[in-house]
């Protein structure tokens, strides 16, 4: 029982750390561009290479 509680807390803290890290590393700075970037096609460049 206590192990389970400890585990659940550990997981929660893990997510919290992931969240803090994502902000620190600037992942939330730009939420628009990546979505547009993925729609652009790259094929022409590869042919020329």
């Amino acid at each position: 029982m206590y192990v389970m509680i400890g585990l659940s807390l550990l997981m929660a803290v893990g997510f919290l750390i992931a969240f803090v890290w994502s902000i620190r590393s600037g992942q939330q700075d730009d939420l628009i561009t990546p979505g547009m970037r993925i729609l652009l096609e790259e094929k022409e460049y590869k042919n020329n290479k």
Binding site: M1, I5, L9, A12, F15, L16, F19, V20, I23, Q28, D29, D30, L31, I32, T33, M36, R37, L39, L40, E41, E44, Y45, N48
Partner: protein, 816 residues
């Protein structure tokens, strides 16, 4: 030379690159039409580098290229400012590119390395319109990169150092709030989880106290880290003896938290940690939501942003470029056509037509001879001149405005202004504290075991979280909706001030009146022959002067003209254009240039918007481009008068106003020949009479008034254009919708007041339990989130409903 073949004048061909209607000569390349060689070159450049996909992402994605020279960026001053990081020969630089608008831009800019191999990598932030480049500094310099971007149609906007600093500060604040929000959410969620046994009444034995301790840890993080802003804000307000809405909120949170700590450690209960951290979470969501910022706009520009970044200076007889900051008294500067005078100076060489319209609102140009003095901010028209600086940059006539109190005090508008929340907050706090005291004393006398519990419950349950939540959501939505119609409000405080406005002051030149969009009137002594028309058209079409451009456009639209061969063509800056055709000299330009008698001008005061025509010895007449009222302005003024007092301020002379004056009630409501300082004082006087003033203006001459007024609205033709420091930026076309925007702001505040009444009902319900001293944690845990959530719901649904109505209204307005 002008190309003779010109077959496509009437059919409207659009440019393959930029989508503009090809004005004159259509350039054909690879079976595609282009409006100018610039666009064609961009196309060639892109297709040579196999970036042709640029044109497949969007239809006519390009912007006409600019030829601005960016070599000044190579000066060490700018290198330090722009390059953020440099190692192993690779440097990182940020450029702000306002022209970014579609997916094609993204495609092109992120593949810049294919065009210029010395650019290693490029990364675009679409929302901020900011491009980050990594490049090899040995192979290419900053000026060439900026030049390349400008050639592609993305002219970089170089921000001043202060603006960059402000932006950085804002971003770090945003990130910190986000972090606090996330952590509050984490604490609230987990605290609820650990309070579950308590909700359900399960006997958990030892676990109960363990859960209690875990909750205390979570609650401490939420209150002291996530809620830290409340502590500092309340403290700074108390120091100036001010009660704000934040005080009862903090009191509720703190009392709830301390009570919980006491209960857990004394094993008397489970506390309200879950409600407290949940409330904090909701409050922070609201704060985060209200922080809508328009990264691509600047509301804080001062005169420096209007000035050139570099100037040409004479140092020991040689011309050198140097940054603006390095100007000193006694320096000799070179000013070219269309450049701006950076500081008060004396004209040494050459003559000038000085255009002060942006600084003073005066629409007539002023002729200057050597020895005359000139003031900072004027735009020089004419030949190259040399000037000697007489006053330091920050002491000039123009910049004195920025030495006024309104500009120096950063809290000029926010601190001295009582908003609804703070007014309510003050009474709320007083009532709440009294109520808690009465309840405490009552129970202390009748049943001492209950007094603590009752006081705590009162403070926790009556916390005015509803206001704190419905406020940011309702107003945040308000800002977002307005932005959809090109009205950008700086923050929610400005939005709220908008709802209180009862007096609106307009600037004339550039705000209510416009040079563009008007049909000029032609006043001639005789009709012109077709070949004469063609010659005139060819001449004005080659000139870069704005009036020439409009003249050419007018001729194109109203006459059948075409470009012809002309023998010689000469543009004399500040005077006009001259050429020879069919053995006759054609002159178009200023009255003095063509030798028109000045007598003729007395009826036509607006001489600077006239172009005179002379063929041979014959003075034919002139074409006039009147400053005309913006379309729909009369209707708007009429509509506003029902609910507001309207005033007109202008730097111009009275006889320039024309029919506009009919729309103002009497002569106390307009004033002419105002200096920027006069305008500011005019607003101050209105405010002294207790008016809530909104100022609508456009140029630097309105900067003081915009700053002084409760709401300063800057009108801008496109938002890349310079706008002085203000509270809101409005697109010129939407000016006529001003009454609608004000109505919307009023609705927002009404909605908040309504939801406040509802939350008081909730609170009274909760209080009825709390006063009796038997508020169970379960009821507190249900009541508080329900209260917060219903506030959230009302704000969201209400504002979106009204916003959608606004949307259909605007659609209709467009259709008409």
């Amino acid at each position: 030379m002008v190309e003779l073949e010109n077959p496509l004048i009437d059919t409207q061909t659009t440019c393959f690159h930029c989508g503009e209607i090809c004005q004159d000569v259509v350039i054909k390349y690879e079976a595609k039409d282009f409006c100018c060689h610039g666009c064609e070159q961009v196309y060639q450049l892109l297709s040579d580098n196999s970036l042709g996909d640029y044109y497949t992402c969007d239809i006519n994605p390009g912007k006409a290229p600019s030829k601005q020279n960016f070599d000044f960026l190579n000066h060490p001053h700018f290198r330090d400012q722009l390059i953020s990081f440099s190692a192993k020969g690779i440097s990182k630089v940020h450029f702000h590119l306002p022209a970014i608008h579609c997916r094609s831009c993204l495609y092109l800019l992120e593949n810049l390395s294919r065009i210029e191999p010395s650019i290693v990598k490029s990364n675009l932030n679409f929302g901020k319109k900011e491009l980050t480049l990594w490049f090899t500094e040995d192979k290419i310099d900053l000026g060439s990169i900026a030049g390349l971007l400008a050639r592609l149609g993305y002219e970089p906007l170089i921000d001043s150092r202060e603006e960059q600093g402000q932006q950085k500060q804002r971003i770090s604040q945003q990130n910190q709030l986000f972090l606090k929000l996330g952590i509050a959410g984490f604490c609230a969620g987990n605290a609820m989880l650990f309070s579950f046994p308590e909700y359900l009444g399960i006997e958990a034995g030892n676990l109960k106290s363990l859960f209690g301790y875990i909750n205390i840890v979570l609650g401490s993080i939420a209150v002291f880290y996530s809620g830290s802003d409340y502590f500092s804000n309340v403290w700074s307000h108390l120091k100036i003896r001010k009660l704000t809405i934040e005080l009862p909120i903090l009191l509720g949170i703190l009392v709830g938290y301390l009570r919980s700590v006491y209960e857990v450690f004394s094993h008397t209960g489970a506390g309200y940690i879950d409600s407290v951290s949940g409330l904090l979470f909701f409050l922070l969501i609201g704060k985060w939501f209200q922080q809508k910022s328009f990264d691509f706009l600047s509301f804080e520009r001062n005169y420096k942003a209007y000035f050139p970044l570099v100037i040409s200076k004479f140092i020991q007889g040689k011309e050198q470029t140097c940054p603006l900051e390095e100007i000193e008294v006694g320096d000799h500067l070179i000013i070219r056509n269309q450049e701006i005078i950076p500081a008060d100076a004396i004209l040494c060489r050459g003559t000038s037509q000085m255009d002060y319209s942006f600084v003073t609102g005066e629409s007539e140009y002023i002729s200057l001879e050597p020895g005359n003095s000139m003031y900072a901010g004027g735009r020089h028209q004419g030949e190259l001149i040399e000037i000697e600086i007489k006053k330091a940059l920050n002491q000039s006539h123009l910049t004195q405005l920025w030495e006024q109190q309104a500009f120096k005090d950063p809290n000029h508008k926010t601190e001295n202004w009582e908003n609804f929340a703070n007014k309510v907050g003050m009474y709320f706090t007083i009532i709440l504290l009294n109520l808690a005291a009465v309840v405490g004393i009552y129970w202390f006398q009748h049943d001492p075991s209950k007094w603590q519990n009752a006081v705590v419950s009162v403070l926790v349950i009556a916390c005015p979280c509803a206001l704190a939540i419905s406020y940011p959501f309702a107003l945040g939505h308000g800002i977002r909706w307005m932005a959809k119609f090109n009205f950008f409000v700086k923050d929610i405080q400005a939005f709220e001030r908008m709802s209180q406005v009862d007096t609106i002051v307009f600037d004339k030149t550039g705000t209510l009146t416009l040079h563009q969009d008007t049909k000029p009137t032609l006043q001639l002594v005789r009709d012109l022959s077709q070949s004469e028309l063609n010659t005139i058209y060819t001449m004005v079409n080659q000139s870069t002067h704005p009036l020439s451009r409009q003249f050419a456009k007018y001729l194109r639209e109203d006459f059948e003209v075409k470009s012809v061969d002309i023998e010689s063509m000469q543009e004399i800056p500040g005077k006009g254009i001259e050429s020879k055709s069919h053995g006759k000299i054609f002159q178009i330009g200023h009255a003095r240039f063509t030798g028109h008698a000045l007598v003729q001008q007395q009826d036509f005061i607006r001489s600077e918007s006239q172009m005179f025509i002379r063929i041979g010895e014959e003075r034919i007449g002139f074409i006039e481009f009147p400053w005309q009222n913006r379309a729909g302005v009369e209707y708007m003024l009429h509509a506003l008068q029902a609910n507001y007092e309207v005033y007109l301020l202008s730097g111009d002379k009275k006889n320039h106003a024309g029919t506009l004056l009919d729309w103002f009630p009497n002569e106390n409501h307009y004033r002419f020949e105002c200096s920027p300082m006069d305008k500011m004082e005019f607003i101050q006087n209105l405010q002294k009479k207790g008016k809530q003033v909104a100022m609508v203006g456009d140029g630097l001459n309105d900067a003081g008034a915009l700053k002084q007024a409760q709401v300063g609205i800057a009108v801008s033709e496109d938002h890349l254009h310079f706008t002085p420091s203000c509270d809101a930026i409005l697109q010129g076309k939407q000016l006529v919708q001003l009454p609608t925007f004000f109505k919307f702001a009023k609705f927002g505040l009404r909605l908040i007041k309504m939801s406040f009444v509802l939350s008081v009902v909730y609170n009274l319900f909760g209080l009825s339990y709390a006063i009796q001293g038997n508020l169970s944690p379960l009821i507190a845990a249900i009541l508080m989130p329900v209260n917060s959530l219903s506030m959230l719901l009302i704000a969201n649904v209400g504002m979106n409903w009204r916003g959608n109505r606004l949307k259909s209204y605007f659609k209709q307005a467009k259709g008409d």
